[in-house]
């Protein structure tokens, strides 16, 4: 793993007994001795700590000093209402391509005088280049390389963080705030990618290990690796970029229409004006030809990424494909998501996944597979 980058928490991961794997150019913990299954269940029952420092942290600072200028510029790259996000609030966003494909998905927050953006690790270099290429007239695009990012997720995350950094408990889902932990400024958002209540916390690198240790010193908190992060987000019905959505899928096909607010839709105050608007607005109006759906295999066999889907138990060509799948520890059953032709996307439709040469029934279902527990 010589060519891989390491996060500032690398030594702590090794001390905690993590098994490290390559992920998005980084050496990252896939699991700790507790194991994926128990780490997953512990996060849902108590609290899990995740190192997500490999993700990109970017500040968009308006050159004019007026945040709305940065927000308006950012709206030229996303089918999302950026101007409508109030100070102290966060929103999910999507960078789209001229053909309507998705370049990346991200979270962005209005932090008063700037926008704070968190992007996927695998996409961050391309994203930053894209932002610089298109926003330079309106914003300074600053990549934050001196802060770690730690997620604390689960029902006891609130009490744990409040004990260290007062103010956390007063936040609502998708709020952002600057809090203080032992004299250090931490940038906190009440969000995450597990379907649980929780926080993502940007910490100066030189304080990150001490902060992580302070969290882990609290009884409900265990370290959680990428393995459980994946099964948690899968049960929550959340997309993994590069798998469930990518350059070849549009936001509407990806069942992410909810992320396109009214202001950017046909008839909205700022209709269109983002890359791929022609296709995306048409798909919103007429429905896409295919759609990402939740899939519940009827048996116990997991259906993983790449499993081909068929309309019938025998014959015919593949009609779709599983894009993420595995075992859902909280459901005690396999779960998957994938793309199907629109006419086969109705809830409870049975299709068939080819698992090792056998077509096994799988039921179309709504997502999330398990209701989220966000504190709204």
């Amino acid at each position: 793993m010589a060519d891989l980058k390491r996060t500032v928490l690398h030594d702590l991961h090794l001390e905690l007994g993590a098994r490290m794997v390559p992920f998005a150019g980084y050496e990252m913990p896939v699991q700790y001795p507790m194991g994926v299954l128990k780490e997953h269940l512990h996060t849902r029952a108590a609290a899990g700590l995740f190192d997500v420092s490999h993700m990109g942290q970017v500040i968009l600072r308006p050159l004019s000093g007026r945040l709305q200028d940065a927000a308006a510029a950012f709206e030229t790259l996303m089918p999302v209402d950026v101007l409508g996000v109030k100070p102290g609030r966060q929103r999910y966003g999507l960078l789209t391509a001229p053909d309507g494909g998705i370049l990346d998905d991200l979270m962005f927050a209005n932090r008063g005088d700037h926008l704070f953006v968190v992007v996927n690790a695998a996409c961050k270099d391309d994203d930053i280049a894209h932002l610089r290429a298109h926003l330079t007239g309106a914003c300074a695009v600053e990549e934050i390389t001196d802060r770690a990012l730690i997620a604390l997720q689960g029902p006891t995350a609130e009490a744990v963080l409040e004990a260290l950094a007062p103010g956390a408990a007063a936040m609502r889902f998708m709020d952002v705030a600057t809090l203080t932990w032992e004299g250090t400024e931490i940038w906190v958002s009440r969000s995450g990618y597990t379907g649980e209540d929780g926080f993502e916390i940007s910490v100066p690198q030189d304080r990150a290990e001490a902060f992580a240790r302070a969290l882990l010193a609290q009884e409900p908190v265990v370290p959680v690796g990428l393995g459980a992060r994946d099964s948690l987000r899968l049960e929550a019905g959340l997309c993994l970029y590069g798998h469930d959505i990518d350059r070849g899928t549009s936001p509407v096909e990806g069942a992410l229409g909810w992320a396109i607010q009214k202001a950017r839709r046909a008839g909205g105050a700022r209709e269109g004006g983002f890359p791929g608007a022609a296709r995306i607005l048409t798909e919103l109006a007429e429905g896409p030809a295919r759609l990402r759906v939740g899939l519940l295999p009827e048996g116990r066999a997991p259906m993983r990424e790449g499993v081909e889907l068929f309309a019938a138990p025998e014959g015919g060509a593949a009609i779709g494909r599983v894009t993420s799948g595995g075992f859902g520890p909280s459901l005690g059953a396999p779960v998957a998501m994938g793309y199907l032709p629109a006419e086969l996307c109705r809830k409870d439709t049975i299709v068939y996944g080819d698992v090792r040469g056998r077509r096994l029934p799988v039921r179309v279902t709504d997502m999330p597979f398990r209701p989220a527990t966000y504190k709204r």
Binding site: G35, L37, K38, R300, P302, R304, G326, F327, P334
Partner: protein, 119 residues
Amino acid sequence: MKYTEEHEWLRTEGDLVVVGITEHAATQLGDVVFVELPDTGTEVAAGDEAVVIESVKAASDILAPVAGEIVEVNAALADNPGLVNEDPTGAAWFFKMKVADPSVIDGFMDEAAYKAMID
């Protein structure tokens, strides 16, 4: 007990050969969530895929270590795949085979040789 390079263990039970995976293999696989067992009566050659096991991470094949007929499978694993992690060398045996000569297992590694291989 004898061991294969594919991290299976074998032991004889009367004239049958019982097959499972080692603790090392179970740890490496991670939490097992699905086990697909062969049908009893299946004739297998050495190296044939006999069992599919899926962990939270990936699917793996368990190969028949020797030729023979599958005469019994461990149905408990279908309902409780986690047994493979809890008791890999005991309760989580996979299948029993009828073989021409049970002494065929003498050609596999003993515990010391297997330990040397995984260290």
